[in-house]
Symmetry: C2
Subunit: 428 residues, 2 copies
């Protein structure tokens, strides 16, 4: 079948016609970042499209040039879902061979808008002022709880009633590719059991996703779960790097702090809820029935395949160490947002909410080395190298994508690309 698009998009591309994610990029050796989308192996310069007047539909017509000349997506996200949808549809239309436009017809303009993805640098797409991390996978909460508090106390009594979460650190959320320095801190010496200062011995990743808030709410006025979809702009991959030994020493009674806040990596492209709509599925059955403010729709989960790869510095090929899926998550994005604001807490544009580690029901679907290695007691083998936790020079790569069965001759793929990070040695 001949492609209906003005660019070739490989079948395996995460950035299909059905996706149209949003991010912020810059061209190498040029300082000014700009809003962008992606199609196949190209990024789409939205600033250029806007300045040329190609956002010509009612909501964005007058404001697109200023909105897309900003160096973050914050102004765009504040506009709300009808504008997000209009922008995505406009971009899709401009990519059609059947639609006459300078993008199709003017080679110079086209080369200023469609830029090979290998030649750009990614930036944080929004200013993140508030980062919250939930604990929404029942499998993960059970696995970790059993390890630290025994099987009988694995799941705390509150866990089945509310999406338990905590405030993370916004300043150390970084874009994919940013190296992470191994943290130092106080931890218990495994032999003497006395607190000692030193570099983290149990460095871990956490396979997560996160939603980005588009439209916030006023302090004191909760977001109703029925409207949650209108407040969430889209979704990213998230690696919540964790220093297990530091965390274990510090976390009682106020929760994780230095064990987490040395770095949190997110993928560069925000995939919109509209792009994810075809992949909505029923969430796991919730028993007991949650409180009324947590009762959303029946298909509030998303079927998103996830993988974790680890690349040791001594090897050239990343090796897949886990395969999971967002649909395993017990508490939905909408429930997380409704819970977060039920007390009147205000969300702001660009706020990030992580899911917590997404572990599946099987041993090959665990979302952290803590779980895979049973807190370091059962090493895994990666490319003939043994690992209990992450070593210096290791790279961790998370990937996510949705794929529908072929129907009417077409298979839809919408992906997130990857979030990657390499561990640098601790400062001496």
């Amino acid at each position: 079948m001949t492609s209906p698009l003005i660019v070739d998009v490989p079948d395996s591309s995460d950035f299909s016609f059905h996706n149209i994610p949003f991010g912020v990029v810059s061209i190498e050796n040029s300082s000014q970042p700009f809003p962008a989308s992606a199609i196949g192996e190209f990024v789409i310069n939205l600033r250029e499209l806007a300045v040329a007047g190609l956002f010509d539909r009612p909501l964005l017509r007058d404001i697109a040039p200023s909105v897309f000349s900003a160096t973050t997506l914050t102004l765009f996200l504040q506009l709300g879902r009808p504008s997000w949808r209009e922008a995505r549809q406009t971009i899709q239309t401009l990519l059609l061979k059947s639609h006459p436009s300078p993008l199709r017809d003017d080679p110079n303009f086209r080369s200023s808008v469609l830029i090979p993805i290998y030649s750009i640098q990614h930036h944080l797409p929004v200013r993140i002022s508030n980062y919250t991390d939930f604990y929404a996978s029942k499998e993960h909460a059970t696995n970790v709880g059993a390890m630290f508090r025994g099987k009988d106390n694995a799941l705390m009594p509150n866990w089945v009633h509310i999406p338990v979460g905590y405030h993370g650190r916004a300043s150390s959320v970084v874009i994919s590719g940013t190296p992470i320095t191994r943290p130092s801190g106080l931890r218990l010496d495994p032999v003497t059991k006395a607190p000692v200062f030193g570099k983290c011995q149990k460095l871990d990743f956490e396979l997560e996703m996160g939603f980005v808030v588009g439209v916030g709410n006023e302090l004191g006025k909760p977001i109703n779960i029925k409207n949650a979809d209108d407040h969430i702009f889209g979704v990213v991959l998230l690696n919540d790097w964790s220093a297990r030994d530091i965390q274990q020493f510090e976390y009682v009674p106020l929760g994780p702090f230095l064990g987490k806040n040395f770095g949190t990596s997110i993928s560069p492209w925000i995939v919109t809820l509209d792009a994810l709509e075809p992949f909505r599925v029923a969430q796991p059955t919730q028993e007991p029935t949650p409180a009324e403010y947590l009762q959303g729709g029946s298909k509030d989960a998303y079927d998103i395949n996830l993988t974790v790869q680890l690349k040791a510095s001594t090897t050239t090929t990343p090796q897949t160490i886990s395969q999971s899926n967002l649909k395993y998550m017990y508490w939905t994005f909408n429930q997380q947002l409704a819970h977060h604001t039920v007390n009147g807490c205000n969300m702001q544009t660009g706020d990030l909410c992580g899911t917590g580690t997404i572990s599946g029901p099987t041993p090959d679907s665990l979302g952290s080395l803590l779980e895979m290695t049973q807190n370091g007691t059962q090493p895994i083998t990666v490319d003939a190298v043994s690992r209990t936790f992450i070593e210096d020079g290791d790279e961790v790569i998370l990937r996510g994508w949705c794929e529908s069965e072929e129907s009417a001759g077409e298979k839809i793929r919408v992906g997130f690309g990857e979030v990657t990070g390499i561990i640098r040695p601790a400062r001496s």
Copy 2:
């Protein structure tokens, strides 16, 4: 003695010649906020001073007009301590009768700069992107721990080794005077012990102070405790409103969340470390000796008197219910900052770090109703009205000030003003 200043400053004023705090205000019916200081019963319009060229010393001479034309103090804070010191000294000099300047000699200019404090509105002085709350008072941690975990487990083993803290919510930090809506959420029914949804029944305040970060650090590069003073711009009063019943249900294992993030109030004026310098005192003896990265100077505490007043809606006079002092705090600001960054976590200009509740050693120096009423079991009497926790319409007012003994005929007072908030009924 005749005043050496161009304005009268009552002896009881918090905003003495020795203070010169920094904030952001606007004049009623005028929308644009501007950076300001305060002297006696006047605010000082720093934008007017800057535009008139009166910041004429080396560091600020060229940049003051742009720095003080911003609507927050963020640009000013980024400049660093030498510039903060120069600004304070310039303002002090301009207030001297002996110093010829348009402020002294031009009545029109003077009335544009010195504005009666009753006619202005306060705004958040900086954009707060990260808010952390510590738990640095040994008395408070012991009192609360004994209540929830029994006397034998009151203080967790980690507490004497590290300044325990957690990430708070930045979006809901509000300026003094902002009303706070009573939150709703899930809590355990006191009779059935089952989780029920409803409005908070145990609403509390927490008497705290907080430091504001001036100059941050790069991700991965800790702040050495010896340099902490150069990173901290100044100090504010802080009321960490707390929903004890919501907090009690949710906080295990990831810490406080909805029990805290519905509102945190701060006082409008940031008092600089330079102004607090005369009030430095030795911190409490720390046993065991903390890790090297937590070993600062010998006089890293500040002698700051603190009071809590409660005004019931049925009365006209606030009643003092607690008198405490910042010097009781076990972990110093410098230790908090060094700990927060020892793992490489990055601080940003405007970040806020609360001390946690400051309770003293005596029953009349407790910093929360939780402690004063033994979790609501022993009511206190306020103006003939009984209180276990805060009721709708109640106002809580925190005040803080330093005062030195008279020496050479002069008594120095440096104060924080107040942070106040009134509780609105829950949304129905």
